[in-house]
Symmetry: C2
Subunit: 698 residues, 2 copies
Amino acid sequence: MSPTPHPLQMLSVEETEKARDIVLARHPDHVIEFRQVDLKEPCKKDLVPFLQIEHDGQLYQMTSRPPRMAECHYDIIAADRAIQYHESLVDLEQGKMVENIVVGKEFCPSLTLGEFDTLIEVCEASAVFKSAIKELNLPSHMEAIIEPWPYGSLEVGDEPGRYFQDLVYVRDTRNGNNPDSNFYSFPIPMIPVVDYYKRELVRIEKLATGGKGDPLTASARDSMNHPLAHCTTAEYVPELIEGGVRKDLKELSVVQPDGPSFKVSDGSLVEWQKWRFRVSFTAREGVVIHDVQYDNWDVFYRLSISEMTVPYADPRAPFHRKQAFDFGEGGAGMCANNLSLGCDCLGAIKYFDAVTVGKDGAVKVQPNVICLHEQDNGIGWKHTNWRTGRAVVTRNRELVVQFILTLANYEYIFAYKLNLSGELDIEVRATGIVSCVNIDAGKASEYGNVVNPGVLAQNHQHIFAVRIDPAIDGHANTVIQEESVAEPMNSKTNPMGNFYRVVQTPITRSQWADAAPLRNRIFKIVNPSKLNPISMKPVGYKLVPPPTQLLLADQRSLQAKRALYAQHHVWVTKYKDGELWAAGAYPFQSQGEVGGVQDMVDRGDDVENEDVVVWSVFGLTHNPRVEDWPVMPVEIHQIQLKPTDFFVTNPSIDVPSNKNFASQLVENGKCSGKDLTNLNGSNGVITAINGSTNGVVH
Amino acid sequence: MSPTPHPLQMLSVEETEKARDIVLARHPDHVIEFRQVDLKEPCKKDLVPFLQIEHDGQLYQMTSRPPRMAECHYDIIAADRAIQYHESLVDLEQGKMVENIVVGKEFCPSLTLGEFDTLIEVCEASAVFKSAIKELNLPSHMEAIIEPWPYGSLEVGDEPGRYFQDLVYVRDTRNGNNPDSNFYSFPIPMIPVVDYYKRELVRIEKLATGGKGDPLTASARDSMNHPLAHCTTAEYVPELIEGGVRKDLKELSVVQPDGPSFKVSDGSLVEWQKWRFRVSFTAREGVVIHDVQYDNWDVFYRLSISEMTVPYADPRAPFHRKQAFDFGEGGAGMCANNLSLGCDCLGAIKYFDAVTVGKDGAVKVQPNVICLHEQDNGIGWKHTNWRTGRAVVTRNRELVVQFILTLANYEYIFAYKLNLSGELDIEVRATGIVSCVNIDAGKASEYGNVVNPGVLAQNHQHIFAVRIDPAIDGHANTVIQEESVAEPMNSKTNPMGNFYRVVQTPITRSQWADAAPLRNRIFKIVNPSKLNPISMKPVGYKLVPPPTQLLLADQRSLQAKRALYAQHHVWVTKYKDGELWAAGAYPFQSQGEVGGVQDMVDRGDDVENEDVVVWSVFGLTHNPRVEDWPVMPVEIHQIQLKPTDFFVTNPSIDVPSNKNFASQLVENGKCSGKDLTNLNGSNGVITAINGSTNGVVH
């Protein structure tokens, strides 16, 4: 084991194995199945002094440091498969378990991908399932595919258990038996429900396949036709696409002949263009960004994606139970893609691996789950002096920390993007295959859109919660709600009627707030004790909350009760160690949000000039288009964190405005081979050659 | 003259000269000053049949074509400098003027950059101005700089005339007398008002320089200190930046070894990845996009930026008169930058020139006012089959048509961006130097922010109007307002409370509408006669209106009366030839919007299944940050036009998912020289090599 890992450095393979062994030693007579072994981040009160010493440039190896701890989640399996779910803390230096919590039965741990294999086996082996498939009279080239989903909430009548609902599709094997033929275009109208603990199929729910005006319940099927008779293929793998892939998209490459501008050291420390931060990766959140500084000024303590819920709006039972919590139930880190070079990014790419533990305790490296690269994002700033014709223009370079999830049919691409102007954006791209069910031939539905014959893509929402733990030039911060408000014309303050007022309201008690873009409502996170020497206003960063639609489900519904967080755009809470989950720690099979942001707000903490946390909630209401099929083009959403009077000037004002000599002029449809050095007077193109001069029209 | 220019091809130098000569011949005994000579686009009823024949693949040279016309704007100058403003049409084939309109005195033509030189000369030569400057006792290294602005509206007491207000700054010549030293950090608190027609300085307005609690009017100055004594330099040209430019941002280049994927032919026809459209450039609008098709389907007839107003919110007279209309008053085409290679874009770049006419009738080529290039915008779509680990991922390539304006202190970068998924975005980046005035040392203001000592950047808004003339699979279209609406839980339609309803309301009469993002309000432009064969819904494109703050000025103010268009997000009107201007044709010095979208809507036209025009209004309320100084980082806004059930599948599903072999792995801080071909097993990086396989974690 490396002697001095940074307190925020993810656990190494050796540390993970040590923690596992300590867990196993603690429970010598039990069968243990591991869920996760991750670094337990130090308490803030221990970590902040450490970081302060590190920032001051003292060798952190020399200072006292927070204890190195592993957070271990695992199940103890009884002979009858009854499960006890444990959350334990292991002190790696002391070599012992220092805390062991047995989580109460009222809370369910998240799913693991290992469970999926079992669920599929149970379903496939079930005589009831086999018989149900047989009754459909499917042609022999159709092979059933089972796609386990979380069950949603337990409902009245459900025995206690650990339930999953299996969506069922078939793969058409006639395409050369290609294992990647898109089975989602052949949805079977049944959902087998499986109890994982009992390893048994509980029941099969028949699905309604009607359209407008049809009842909410499944009707008897026409036994003459199988339910996929009207379905057709819809492929996305290149070798199966009808007509093949297009041939006329020419190569566009990013080259960085001098290498990247970033530096990665000490395992997780990233330095780039005055930014400095640490990267880690957790089983639940995927990438976490820590200890963000710009030019040695503290900006953020910790940034993460906390939760996302995806409620479906089809009112026909059991579709109301389609509500995923992809972080709390699924685990973003567990579902992360291996990002292979040149395919997910362009340019000079640095990858980070993660360490994970299998159910059996096997520790392995998950390669390339995080990628880091620079990208160009167009013009950064420009000004032309119209008197002299002199233009100065800079590019807007970004540093991107990216990870990608696959959750059954669907993909999310998350990126933390930092730029030269001191701005930090958190972007999500939604892509993948929309969740779909069977619909009768020729029908339309008000519950979704027909995107392929027989395929109804159901209306749904995606609602994300980003957790922002700020450190705006220190940890005592205040969140100010600011609006630009029309002022009625009046002789005293607004004689000509053009004045509007900028109104600031500090948030003093923990509370929620909503976006109000027509009032230009923004939230400034400021340090009230530190004034900008130019404007004499508190230094700050602003959050412009994306004014996206909030959760639509009725307040009395289980969907709404489980996702209180999704009902407001901004939550301001007081920091508490370990309080990371917008929808609470245990959304799996939950019947309501417990320990989520609503509970945190209800404490009524003083949050003025305190250690605050800001939760930004946004998303999309997705009523699918035919164009979203079979794989949807990315739908991009992001939040922006921008300095407001944090700096004393545009932080990118010193970015060079060099010409790029790799760019080429197109003449007669081809790159001319002419770059700026031989452009003068060529072919009617008149442009200034002096590196600092640019023409202007006047 | 080329024998067969396309009817949408901009006028050539020869055509422009011919039109000019016809104008001169028409007024043989007069002094004429030209404003613009542009192509007069054919009436839609003449152009549409022509385009139809062209689309059908018939050689358009063989068909009858609309007459080739030039629209000529010019002034006839009388001996006493009285001016008659003419708008004439010249038929270039017949070689004669076919229409000659003398615009009434109640309307003022836009400014020309030629006027600025005169305005500066008049002011500088004025004894009153000289004496006012002298009274300030400025040190000798400070050289006054005059920046002409439109005057705003005539007010009670103003004689008839053509007024400009001159903002005055000084340039500090101590920086080696650098002509590009930033003078905006030294604002003189006076505004000389100049009448262009009379060539005289009318008066000098003294500006208030106070802060919170100070009166709205200017107070007597302390004669001991000059008003710039507390101001300091704030440079942006690289050679003047304190400490120089940063050195550690390494080269990032875009290379396209096989050239661009686009083709430009016939002067203005652009073809790229199933998109096909024509580009033109007008004095008022800058780039215009015409006849947009995707895969031979009509999508848009004409896209343009129609107007932008920038009202300032400082209530102290005369600042209420700071309200620019940068298209209607300034002319986007006239203020367009010469985009020099590699500086404004990366990669393989095609430039287009424009032809302009000087005041004296001299016709010249304005080089490189439009640029066309491709860019990468991250992942386009991705799906991983978690069973097989096979990932398919494509890049989201965009084609960008860009132009950039400089309007005195400020810059706007406009881009039409088309992508592989059939989407078209219209983006604006606001940058340049924020407009600023003098503020006393040590004071703060509720009218703006102090961004440099003595410099108050005033609060203001920018409100844009984009004109969308759709042709969704034909010209008879309907605009549908669509919302996603929560449905109360009820046993009949929503037993579990998860259902929401998608409610569509067709717009039947010309009207305005506002954004309502919390209702997920979108506007679908559909062809009600053409149904998507999959969903059986009308083919369409949707506009998601950016829910930005609308004009804040009081309804009774001149600012508000001049910009009725800026008070709603969406306007739906019936097409009328030549009706292009959201704020009316003549905003210069206007006292109200005449002939703008409000007047169009007031006609109450039937717009259902008709030739409709959609106007999208959006903008930003800009309360400046210190970080916006001295040149602000780009603030990016855009509208998106996305197909909704226009296609029968994701239009980018056939985009190849090739790996990019130019990308490089970063190891030990440097590009390793390793691309995908030699990655296998290197240095602990494990990634699939097979071009079609990508790992997945589960």
